[in-house]
Symmetry: D3
Subunit: 286 residues, 6 copies
């Protein structure tokens, strides 16, 4: 039985997937000459990658970054999009209802790709550096932890191209930060904001001096998470996501059912014993 992840399972043109530490995967968006802007094939590949990582027993924490110095991602490749579905629906029908049907299918598909980051069983740490516009916000909101740098420039950019953001930002941002006035402000004005503001309102949880420092810190955090019981980690992510969307009482009920199976793991004994003996526990794959 192989004890290492298989990089060849994760080869895609615009993504580098590496395994920089035990049980840690690193997904790098790799189209730096275009500021890591996305076109359709890229979000389909992103989804494939995260659906694989979700079940890969060699992976317990994931780092998500953008290649190059300039951008996590500048968002949707508008030029590509302007030649594509958005402005020229594939249906030739002039019937607005039929066009709506095609568009709805397309939006649901696109949303589903981004949501595969949220549905990935393993925690995802996104490092937002440089330009982080539009899709950068949608994508990082589907991740679990958001870190940034002192020079990151964020924008919920969609109203500037004439549309309400529709692949996640408007649905997740009100549940992710604690300033509803700010949420409306940045979504309605598309203005650029910086990390100081992002930290204050709760969009990111830590800010670092530069990309290198942020990536290093993210990697260290991933390593730390990967050192814990994967049963505990996967459960923690799932239960937090479940509870975010529901009344406290529903969260409690679901948690009780979840842990009725999960605390039967021997990881609990191993972790407790290691704690008492002040040594590092090892846990079986999940």
């Amino acid at each position: 039985m192989a004890h290492h992840p298989s990089p060849q399972d994760y080869r895609f043109d615009y993504f580098n997937v590496t395994f920089p530490a035990e049980y840690v995967a690193h997904v790098e968006i790799n189209r730096p000459d275009k500021l890591n802007a996305f076109f359709e094939q890229m979000w389909l590949n992103l989804s494939t990658i995260f659906r694989k990582l979700s079940f890969d027993p060699h992976v317990r924490a994931i780092l998500l970054t953008g290649a190059g110095d300039r951008a996590f991602t500048a968002g949707l490749d508008v030029k590509a999009a302007s030649q594509g579905t958005l402005s020229q629906p594939t249906t030739s029908s002039p019937d607005p209802a039929r066009t709506a049907t095609t568009l709805r299918r397309h939006i649901l598909d696109f949303q589903s790709c981004i949501t595969s980051v949220e549905k990935c069983e393993k925690p995802v740490i996104a490092i937002l550096h440089g330009i982080s516009y539009g899709l950068a916000i949608d994508l990082s909101l589907a991740a679990d932890i958001r870190l940034s740098t002192t020079t990151t420039r964020f924008s919920v950019k969609e109203v500037d191209i004439g549309l309400a953001a529709d692949i996640g930002t408007l649905s997740r941002l009100p549940h992710a930060v604690g300033n509803a006035s700010w949420v409306k402000d940045v979504c309605l004005t598309a203005r650029v904001f910086d990390s100081e503001e992002a930290l204050r309102v709760g969009f990111v949880s830590e800010v670092f001096n530069d990309k290198n420092a942020a990536v290093a810190a993210g990697l260290e955090k991933a390593r730390l998470i990967a050192s814990k019981s994967p049963v505990a980690i996967v459960g923690t992510k799932e239960l937090l996501n479940y509870s975010r969307d529901r009344p406290v009482q529903d969260g409690l009920s679901y948690t009780a059912v979840w842990n009725a199976a999960m605390v039967q793991t021997k990881d609990v004994k191993d972790a407790m014993l290691s704690g008492l003996q002040r040594r590092k526990p090892t846990f079986e794959k999940l």
Copy 2:
């Protein structure tokens, strides 16, 4: 077809409604000698104004302020209320169930007036200056963006008159800020808090040196929002409000249906093209 809004449609004794910039309306609560305190006719008029603005094609963003230097609003005119429904229900019945029926109808009506600000399709920017007590909190929570000044004095005042706030604060505040402990604190103690605290917990998103600066900034923000595609702006407000109240997955589904119609707008092409050509787009009325 008139290309200007019609101030005469918006004439009410205690409100000034003006149109200081293209597609921007300014609603000023105008009872400064009473610290802009509200009595029943005023919240009925407020509701009428916002229901009109909601569908006025000449309006794309709204500024909401209080007249005078001293207060956004001191809240309910307690003296008026103490002579009115609250303490002397209109029913003469000594039957508590019948009194409850009358009171519930009254509370629902009052709530509905405040909610008309939230239901207004166009974004509303509230400028809270000076005394901002009781109804000031309810009302501004129904607005989209809250700005304040260094001298604003806020209070969730209702427990001081013997009642749990019932026209919006207790329902909206837990969804508007990110500090549940603080929410309980200010609602249970009725203590006064200032803008520094309001900014820290996320009740307002920006603080300005004085009322003039805040109003100027609010107007500038309204102007900016009014310069965007109204299709995108109206959708963004609606989708954020919808998602605030629902699981992420429900927000995504609703968004997909919404945008299936809305991205068919030619505003998308116009905005994209203007962006590429670095010129200011103009958008058809909505």
Copy 3:
């Protein structure tokens, strides 16, 4: 009829319950030699205490603290737990489904004890000082107001013993603070954080120089709350908790029904009149 609370109703081995001010109860977790760590009998007693306080007409606000200088509580007494249900389920069956049934009943019972703090009709102010790990977070999240000191050390500790926290933290934390990235971070890493961070993200609402100052401030706040109409206070707690878990519109409807009865209280007149006459009102027991 006695006008004082009855301390003898509240005698338990590991809790001191006192009444330091009119209408104020003080519950002190009292096992300082074990850092106030909990074993099963303690959370059962805690629940008994708060269910009594909920209906005690002499109580209008509650302070919750930990005895000694070192800890609010270090959480679950892991040594006790490691000899108990968690690692050695009381059922002798090797059948994972039967073990799951036993565990689920146990977790639901434990959750229910912690939830009795949230369900207590009267507001609860928790003072987190020193070590505040694991159960400290669960418990204080069921309280209404959280205050801490400059030396408090917090940790969502559960992943370190191999399990996803299951008695409240994962269900309540996403609704209590305004930084989803931070919530995931502290729950997935079990790292220690301090009061500065806790205040920034909104987990506590005020930080004091030391335990004495925090307890004094908490007591003062309890006194202030206890001086208000108990009808208004009980309603405010209930309506905020209800609204946290539901869409704004549902919160408004429930509020209207609630207040249809509650604004019939003569406390409203008394409070208004006292306000106008600038004197301190007194309110009948509840």
Copy 4:
């Protein structure tokens, strides 16, 4: 103070509103030459009538019927509609997003008129006789009790004019009857069904030999309801509607708050005493 309802408050061209028994109102749709088909002014008037009846203290139960022998209502007046909003949106814009905005406002308005029957505090008994197509289904589903005759012909007609029913049938029917397969069948095929089928699946609760018998029985039922405590009746309608839409536990909580005020009515004592003394109680107006 007048002890009779005021028919002159309820004068509209296409509705007869009478008061055939104490505390009973009878609303008759009165456009028999057009099979009681609706055009826009009619549903606006319908809404006005039911909003008035909701608060009229002389009314405790309402009968809703269609004039003439042939139809409760044949539904929307398609000819009128085909000249109106539906096919020729009032906006002249060829922009599908702007047209969608206009249409959505229109649909919400129309829905709101129909919903005013459901929101009416007093129970509404609909008598469906003869042709009962389209809007007849939407409208009667907003009523509380549905009675029909052996010759009633029902149809969820909307797919036959190219649209999914949008003013209530698709939202209310799944919650009103107990055969999901049948619901899909009649909504997808638009086929006509009769009273035997309607009774079997639970769409109506009683079937009578002819319109006269059905109206007489409906009137008798209205009379019976009107003889009960209006506090009990209004509460029963509200609580059933609330619970239909929510988990059982939410229904119970809301019920407890509702009745905390309502069982304080002296109607309870009066009703109990009358029951023991086997005499007919009288209740104060509501």
Copy 5:
């Protein structure tokens, strides 16, 4: 280890609890001279009984009946109630808000007693014979299976004593039967209905010729359920109750988590093997 249930654990004045078959408990309401009418101590005892049965490993199915020929239960003992809390609140305060507080606590307690039948992990089969009024409906709706006889007389009686039913009927009935019009009819009129009607609308699932036949059939059904894997039975009850209150997708997610533990039971193998070998399986206690 005892292999029999312990009748002495279940001794209460107005209830007979017996164990007529392996793993089957029979709870008989035993106040036949008063038509099994309930007063407060009885519903408290009922709750105690069902909370015990829920965890009794010797019990897998429960039969609930009323003693004597005349009634399952005539409901609340109105004479007792008229001397009790309902009409003379224990608080001496004339303050409607304080009275409401007392009443709400009382209603929640009463609801909770009835809900303990629904929360009981083991299925409950109620046999409704003779007079089945008021509380009979509330109580049987908290049971899982309702059987009746040709002479049962049902009534949702509460409006006849001036109140909206508040211990379960209005919250559960809309989710239990498939005829919303009928639900409104019987709840608003308090009219008596018979088993033929009850079967047609789905309130009961089978009707028998007399009480003996119904009890015998109920016992046979309990025996059948008790012969199945208790893991499967307890899960089936829980998952159906969960799903009744929630969207299908939520039901599916919860089911997957539930069965992830439960299908690990060896009962699955035993049941499959027994099925193939056409013999009766035996299952370990739960």
Copy 6:
């Protein structure tokens, strides 16, 4: 552009997919020698087929049947399953938490396959003939319309193999029929029931004399549905499914957004005009 569907796109070993009428697809489960029992590959293929049909512009209605005289489907192929995942989880770990993780992934996958019938945009008519056990119930509940024959034998079989049904029956059945007592009965006892009972409680909507008659009637119904505007049909299915799971008010809001795009279709004009001219309309592909 081809105007016919492509049978070669739908070739799978155990399914026949044909196109017996314009815009009508017929999916036949084809493993008659094993009573159409399912093993894993089959439900994966089923899902593939329905996801294709969902977007196939040549398909507007779908008939789902089982090959042979004896069974729609006998459910899960227990022999295959007993050699597979259910009883021998693919993980070799003896750790119940890890086994639970594997099982949960498996159950979610299986559920998702069945749900693809519900998510298919086009209506699905299931013909249940002969033996219709276990998976037959899960599968047909994901369809829209259920028809059966006088000799169909139904059973919610799962408790007989030691588990609570987990691929849909327990989540969908409470929302599909109107007799909660009956739902509990058949799910807890696994007893066989017939079409008369199925029709009475609302599980099927029509019963035919034999399989041929049922298939013919189903095909006729599919043809009728396929003759309507596909915009109206797809919307009707979606809106009914959405509303089943939500409060009426949410259903209305979603409907308004949906139809804001969809009533822009020219199908409305075509359908209205055809209706007035009494001719059969034709509609563009969707």
